[in-house]
Symmetry: C2
Subunit: 410 residues, 2 copies
C-alpha cells in the first residue's frame, strides 16, 4: 500500500481555495485573473514535486514526469462555476499531485511515471471541457472561434491571458497509457449509502429538447373552454405525460428533468397563446436515450394540431461515454485493499474524462458530496473522506503503474 | 318602435376612434391626454343632443336630461386598454347617446328621461371600474390613495388632469330608476351561434389563486429521481389535476385558466427548487366558485409535504353580480319586436354594471365580436350588427321609460 500525506492534501486544497475565495466557496471562472493565478500556483507545486510543470496557451497545466518514458495521466480541472465550491475539480487535481508525490517518494521502480494535468474551462464558462478537448485534438477551430461567455466575451479574447505561455500540451498515445480522474460525486448516492468510494461505470449521455406550443390568446373570462386553443394546457398535458410514461420506459438509472416552462403572454386572464418547456434526460445507454426521444417525438406528433400546434426540437445531444472496466477494477481493488467496498455508479454529470476516454483507457472515481451539493458555496466533503479518497486514488495509480498490461489500450 | 339614425351611430363611433387612434385600434388609456380629449368630445356631443353634459373631477362624463325629474341611466366607458379596440366601451356610450337623441326626437311624452354616462378608468389602468365605483359611492379613500398604474404613477396624480372640472357626479336613487349598458361580447358565442343580441344573465365572479411549491435545487444529472424534491413536477401534477377534475365539478358556463407558470432557477440541468402558477376561475354562481376553491384547497393540503411544500393563496376574489331579470326581459322583448331572438349568456368579463347593479336595477346587452376578439386592435363588429344592436338598445330604453314599474327598485 502506497502512503500519502493526508495533512498535505488538506492544506493544499485549503490554500488553493483561497485563490478566488467567495464566502465558503470559490469563484474562479475560466481565464479570470484568479483562475490563471491558481494555475501558476499549481505549476509551482508541480515543480516542487519534481515534475516539469508548465501552463500552456490553452490554459492547460501539465506536470510531466521527467524520469519516465511512459506515464499514467492523472488530474481534473481547477476552474469553477461562478460562486462555486472549493472541491469540484480541485480535489481531483490535488489527488493527482499527491499521487505523483507519493509515487516519487515511494522509490519503487517502474518504467511508468505519473503526469499531472489540470484542464482549462471544464465548467464551460466559454466552452465545456475546452481544455481536455484541445489536449485530445478533439475540437474544431470553428468551435473555438464561435465560443463566447454568457456576457458575450469571446474565448479567443479570453485566451489573450495565456497567449505568451507554452505551446499547446497534447495527449501522447505512446506515453499516456491511461487516464485516471477523481472527483466529488456531485450527488447524494454515496452519502445515502454510507459509502466512501464509487467507481464510475460510465458518463451519461444527455438529450435536451425544447417543446413549444402555439395556440391563440383569448379572454379567459369570455371564451368558453371548448372554443379555446390553449398553448399552456397543451404543455401541462405533455409534461404530465412525461411524468407518467417515462418511468415505464426508462432504465433504472435514467434521470430526467423539466427545468423551465413559460407561458405567453403570461397574464392571469388571458389564455396562453404560446408556451415552451425544456425537457432533458440522461442515461449511460444510447438505446434508452433513443427510445425516450422516439416516444417524445411520437407524442408531440400525436398532440400536434389537436387543436394546438406542438413542435419539439433537440437542442443538445451528448453521447454517453463508457469507462474502461479493467481500469475501474483497479480503483475498486485499491478500495478493497483498505477495507472499503466501492459502489459502482454512473456519472450523471459530464467530466474531462469523457473526452480523454475517446483516446486512451480512462476511469473515474467519486468521493461523497455532503448533502449531494455542488456548484454552490455549500459544496463540501469531510476531511476524513477527502484523505481516504486520496489514499485509494494514489493506490490505484500505483497499481496502474505496476501493471499497465491489465488494461488493454484501445 | 323607436327609430335611430344608424349612419350617425357609425359616424360618431368612427370619429371617436380617431381620438387616440393606434393602427386599426385605439390607445386611449385612462387619464391620458387623448382620454380627456375623448371625454370633452362626448360632453360636446351630449350638449348638441340637448343634455346637460359635463366632465367631473373623477373623469366621469354625465349627460343629464334637463326636462325630466327621473331618468333611465345609460352608458359605458370611453377609456381603453393600451393598444386596444375601437368598440370596447365606446359602443355602449354611443348607443346611450343615440338612445337619448332618439328619445328626444320621438317627442313621446314620458315623465322619465334619459341620462347618459361615460365612466372613468373602467379598464383599470389605475383602478378597475374607478368611475362607476366613485359614482356609486362604493370605494374607500384608502383604495384611491393606494391605486397606481403599472409604471408606478399614482391615481391621485393622474386625477390632476381633471382637478378643475365639475364636482363629482353621483348616482341618485330617486332619479335613476335603472341602468342599461350595451357592450361588445368580447367572446365568440354570438358569432358562433349566428345571433346578434345577447341579454346578460349575470356577471361572473372571479377567484384568482397563486399556487406555489418549495422544493430543493438539485443537479438534474446526478440526483436520482427518487431522491428529488422537485417543485416543478409538483405544480405540473397540480395543473394536470385541475385539467382532469375541474370539468367534473364545474357548472356548464364555468371557465378557468392557468395563465402563467414559472420554475426557479429555470435551468435545464437543475431540478426546480421553486415554482409558481396562477389559476383563475369564473362563474355566475358563488356556490360553484366556493366548491372549486374548496377542492383546490383540499388538493393543495393533500400534496403539501409529499415531499414538496405546496401553498395556495387567494389573490383576488370578485363576487358574481346578478342582473335584474325583468329589465333583461325588456331587452329581449325589444329584440323580439324586430324579429331577433336574444341569447341569454353570462358575462365572463367585468363591467361597470357590476357596481351600478348594487344600487339600482341593472341590465346589459351584448352585440357580436368578430372572432371573439377584444382588448386588441383586431377587435371589430360589422356595421350592420352595430346598427342593429343600437336599434334594440334604444327600443329597450324606450320601453323602460314607458314602463318603469316593470322592474322593481331594489
Amino acid at each position: 500500500m502506497i502512503s500519502i500525506n493526508g495533512d498535505r492534501v488538506i492544506s493544499d486544497l485549503r490554500e488553493l481555495a483561497t485563490i478566488g475565495a467567495f464566502q465558503t466557496g470559490v469563484d474562479r471562472v475560466a481565464f479570470s485573473a484568479v483562475d490563471i493565478q491558481a494555475r501558476r500556483w499549481l505549476v509551482e507545486k508541480l515543480r516542487q514535486a519534481g515534475l516539469e510543470g508548465s501552463l500552456d496557451r490553452a490554459g492547460n497545466v501539465l506536470g510531466r514526469d521527467p524520469k519516465a518514458a511512459k506515464a499514467i495521466l492523472v488530474g481534473s480541472h481547477t476552474d469553477t462555476v461562478p460562486k462555486g465550491g472549493w472541491l469540484d475539480g480541485a480535489l481531483g487535481v490535488i489527488y493527482a499531485l499527491e499521487a505523483a508525490r507519493s509515487a516519487f517518494k515511494s522509490g519503487e521502480t517502474s518504467a511508468v511515471g505519473v503526469d499531472v494535468i489540470s484542464f482549462a474551462d471544464e465548467e464551460g464558462t466559454f466552452l465545456s471541457c475546452f481544455g481536455s478537448r484541445i489536449f485530445c485534438g478533439d475540437i474544431a477551430a470553428s468551435e473555438i472561434e464561435a465560443a463566447k461567455s454568457k456576457d458575450g466575451t469571446r474565448l479567443l479574447q479570453a485566451l489573450d491571458a495565456v497567449a505568451n505561455e507554452a505551446p499547446h500540451h497534447r495527449i501522447d498515445r505512446e506515453r499516456h497509457l491511461c487516464f485516471l480522474e477523481a472527483h466529488i460525486e456531485q450527488g447524494p448516492r454515496l452519502e445515502a449509502a454510507g459509502r466512501r468510494i464509487a467507481v464510475v461505470t460510465g458518463l451519461v449521455g444527455i438529450r435536451r429538447l425544447r417543446v413549444r406550443a402555439f395556440g391563440r390568446a383569448d379572454h379567459a373570462g369570455t371564451t368558453p373552454m371548448a372554443m379555446r386553443r390553449d398553448a399552456g394546457a397543451t404543455l401541462i398535458n405533455f409534461a404530465a405525460w412525461v411524468a407518467q410514461e417515462f418511468p415505464k420506459h426508462a432504465g433504472p438509472d435514467t434521470v430526467w428533468n423539466i427545468g423551465s416552462i413559460a407561458f405567453q403572454p403570461g397574464a392571469a386572464n388571458v389564455v396562453p397563446s404560446q408556451s415552451e418547456l425544456v425537457l432533458e434526460f440522461r442515461d449511460t445507454s444510447a438505446e434508452v436515450l433513443d427510445l425516450l426521444e422516439g416516444l417524445v417525438s411520437a407524442r408531440v406528433q400525436a398532440m400536434n394540431g389537436q387543436p394546438v400546434a406542438v413542435a419539439a426540437e433537440t437542442i443538445s445531444r451528448i453521447a454517453p461515454a463508457a469507462m474502461t472496466a479493467s481500469l475501474g477494477a483497479m480503483i475498486s481493488d485499491a478500495a478493497s485493499s483498505v477495507g472499503e467496498t466501492a459502489m459502482h455508479i454512473a456519472s450523471g454529470a459530464g467530466h474531462d474524462a469523457m473526452f480523454v476516454a475517446r483516446v486512451i483507457p480512462s476511469a473515474m472515481m467519486f468521493v461523497p458530496s455532503m448533502g449531494g451539493r455542488s456548484h454552490d458555496i455549500s459544496e463540501n466533503t469531510s476531511d476524513s473522506d477527502i484523505v481516504f479518497g486520496c489514499r485509494v486514488f494514489a493506490e490505484a495509480v500505483a497499481r496502474a503503474r505496476k501493471n499497465p498490461q491489465a488494461f488493454a489500450a484501445k
